[in-house]
């Protein structure tokens, strides 16, 4: 009996079609998953934005190449913060060169649970936000948001307040330093002279404290300890750097002798003078080839209006630009000091190599200090011109290893590194460079800050309405008008 012809495909054909479909879909899904998996493992990133230029210095590349143990980097940031993207891209570049770097991003606004977990894991205070954290070898280094950029005054508000803006990004320098700190198990010890009215390295709250500078020095892998000097207490033997931060009373003969011994043994001294006193150290400084002026320096055309003055890196006529201020000079970054003393090289003190670091503009003035106890004394001008307020001195004996030679950095102002002024202009950079030069970490001096480009939209009320008229009215209405014409033409 003949079978009746069917209208569709046979059951077998249909089944084979479904199987074919199922296998095709499964294969395609597998291919898509595989492509994504492989692309995730082997990827490239191209940065086309000028501000994200994350070419790393050769020294950072060397530091990254030496990292062997895993390092966790946590970017604990609000993603809307404008520095977030440059930080992320820079650290991703680090990650590409050092596979042992594990980078995590946590937006504390969007991910409160993860933020709490990170805060607990690394023992961060609950109110601390916007930071980059490096962890390895049971050690944690935190780079705070405030240290990542430099600010400079760019104008004034109508009520006379100075407006500060970010001018430079310090990311590479701080990240490389933090990486070196967590991966280097040898921590160097630095001491600061305690007492004698010096600035406190533990005080982070009052304006004249040095707590912020202390934190920065610890980020540089330094173990910072107080030191007291006396007949029985010399400078500790493990001291790689001694900081005398603005003593307001005179040091006694025993203390000065201890400093002299320390310097003759190849010590590294960072001397910051307070405007009120030379602390009895002028003779010791003279022995090292440094003249500490009994004066106060001003630069009338470069004042900030709050008593502080703008200074610049100075090219010494004899030795050129010193490494401690080279990056600042290259980026044309200014410095902000209080009213400093003049500090200059004493001529004819070979074999001391004394280099001027910082000076006023050519319109600088040095006023003679009034006699102690004098009231209503008239300040008399002692000198005019570009007046040096900072000097670096090196005393290398012939044939002596440069690493063992004593080094001395003298600055005529101690207020520039206090909690208030440390982050102003290039002051933190100066502190960074000075300490690295004293510690003979010259490689870190080469990583300079990167300029941040700022823009300002300035649209008047009339221009705003004009722009809105175009964007929300004329352009959409124009398109609709063209559409209506086309429609009408096709209709008739």
């Amino acid at each position: 009996m003949p079978t009746e012809p069917t209208a569709g495909f046979s059951a077998r054909r249909r089944w084979s079609g479904w199987v074919n479909l199922f296998l095709g879909v499964a294969a395609m899904l597998a291919l898509a998953a595989m492509a994504n998996y492989l692309s995730h493992r082997h990827y490239s990133r191209w940065q086309w934005a000028k501000r994200l230029d994350s070419r790393l210095s050769q020294l950072t590349q060397l530091t990254l190449a030496e990292i062997s143990k895993p390092v966790t980097v946590v970017i604990f940031y609000d993603r809307r913060e404008s520095l977030y993207r440059p930080i992320l891209e820079l650290l991703r570049r680090y990650g590409e060169l050092a596979p042992s770097l594990h980078i995590e991003t946590v937006d504390y606004e969007l991910e409160p649970a993860r933020a709490t977990q990170i805060q607990n894991r690394y023992k961060l205070p609950p109110n601390v936000h916007d930071l980059v954290l490096f962890h390895s070898n049971e050690r944690t280094e935190v780079v705070p948001h405030s240290a990542l950029s430099q600010v400079s005054p760019t104008g004034q508000t109508p009520d006379g307040r100075i407006v500060f803006e970010r001018t430079h990004f310090n990311g590479e320098r701080l990240f490389t330093s933090a990486l070196a700190a967590v991966s280097d198990t040898n921590r160097h010890r630095a001491y600061f002279l305690a007492g004698r009215g010096t600035h406190s390295f533990t005080n982070t709250t009052s304006w004249d404290g040095y707590g912020s500078l202390g934190q920065r020095l610890r980020q540089m892998n330094l173990d910072l300890q107080p030191a007291t000097l006396s007949a029985t207490q010399p400078v500790p033997k493990d001291c790689r750097l001694l900081i005398v931060a603005g003593p307001r009373t005179e040091l006694d003969a025993q203390e000065i002798q201890r400093l002299r011994e320390y310097l003759s043994a190849g010590g590294r001294l960072w001397m910051l003078f307070h405007r009120a006193t030379r602390a009895g150290l002028e003779h010791l400084m003279a022995e090292q080839g440094v003249l500490v002026g009994d004066d106060l320096v001003n630069d009338p055309g470069n004042g900030f209006g709050d008593g502080s003055i703008k200074f610049s890196a100075f090219a010494d006529p004899q030795h050129g630009i010193h490494p401690a201020v080279r990056a600042l000079a290259a980026q044309d970054v200014s410095l902000r000091l209080g009213a400093p003393r003049s500090i200059s090289p004493l001529p004819g003190r070979a074999p001391v190599k004394c280099t001027q670091l910082i000076a006023t503009s050519a319109q600088g003035l040095a006023y003679r200090q009034p006699a102690p106890g004098a009231t209503n004394a008239v300040l008399t001008v002692d000198r005019r011109g570009a007046i040096s307020v900072g000097v670096a001195a090196e005393k290398a004996a012939p044939g002596q290893d440069a690493h063992l030679a004593p080094r001395l950095l003298v600055l005529g102002d101690s207020d520039c590194f206090n909690n208030t002024l440390l982050d102003k202009e290039g002051n933190s950079d100066l502190a960074w460079n000075m300490s690295n030069w004293l510690l003979d970490r010259s490689h870190l001096l080469a990583i300079g800050p990167r300029p941040i480009q700022r823009h300002v939209f300035s649209i008047t009320e009339r221009e705003r309405w004009e722009l809105m008229g175009w964007l929300l009215g004329i352009i959409p209405a124009g398109i609709l008008a063209v559409g209506s014409l086309v429609w009408l033409r096709r209709r008739h």
Binding site: A35, A49, S82, F457
Partner: protein
């Protein structure tokens, strides 16, 4: 190839010879204009240090355009043909299913990109009001265009697939909107779920459209994002082709 180009032209003509295409374009321009006005309002007289392109994806209008416009453009690609009965005629022509699918997809994508075209002038208009060089950095602008094209391709492919599933344009638009919004929201899972460390966190970060667009908008072109959108586009075009060929033997 000739048949493919003819079909692409037919698709584009479908948009430009009807009022509907112009209404979509005007709507997109209005929303983009609103997005720019909001960005300018937020930035006016305040110094900022990121390119304007980086700010654009932060406004809700930007995502509204991407998520809403794609279903509206693609809802008619196959559903309309099936509703008016021209689909069967198209399938009987000596053109492969793939040529039909690719032509519909190319037409939709080209129209989608054309709706964004006037926005290219925005950065240059803005240079008139900005002080400080470099507010309009061409690098991020180029990468943003790549990002919008990649995301647009994926959404057009989803729209074509949704349109191939049904006769109803409304159902097609809703299906496409649901899939695109679903993928968009997947990126938020790592945020609303308890903290995940490791591969799961990486997976959801890999799926996050916000992160992809954040990279593109700030001038970063990452091969992972390109592969993600290219693979999803290929996947949904494959689904579309299978849906069409299913009609032949089902």
């Amino acid at each position: 190839m000739q048949a493919y180009l003819t079909l692409v032209r037919r698709e584009l003509a479908g948009h430009f010879l009807s009022l509907r295409g112009y209404v979509i374009m005007a709507g997109v321009q209005f929303l983009l204009g609103a997005s720019l006005c909001i960005t300018l309002e937020a930035l006016n007289q305040k110094p900022f240090d990121m390119p304007i392109t980086e700010k654009m994806p932060n406004t809700g209008f930007f995502w509204l355009i991407l998520l809403l416009v794609a279903p509206v453009i693609t809802m008619r690609t196959f559903a309309h043909e099936r509703a008016i009965g021209t689909f069967e005629t198209l399938l009987t022509t000596p053109i492969s299913d793939w040529a039909v699918v690719l032509a519909k997809f190319t037409g939709a994508l080209a129209f989608f990109l054309l709706t964004w075209l006037p926005a290219l002038a925005y950065p240059f208009i803005l240079t008139r009001y900005v002080s400080g060089m470099g507010a309009v950095d061409l690098g991020p602008l180029a990468s943003l265009i790549i990002g919008i094209t990649m995301l647009g391709s994926f959404m057009m492919a989803v729209g074509c697939f949704a349109s191939a599933l049904t006769k109803s344009q409304i159902i097609a638009a809703m299906t496409s909107f649901a899939i695109c919004t679903g993928v968009f929201l997947l990126g938020f899972i790592s945020v609303i779920r308890p903290p995940w460390i490791g591969s799961r966190s990486e997976l959801f970060s890999h799926l996050s459209m916000l992160e992809h667009m954040g990279d593109f908008a700030s001038g970063v072109v990452d091969t992972r994002h390109v592969v993600f959108y290219a693979s999803l586009t290929a996947l949904f075009l494959f689904f579309t082709q299978k849906t069409i060929s299913l009609r032949r033997w089902r």
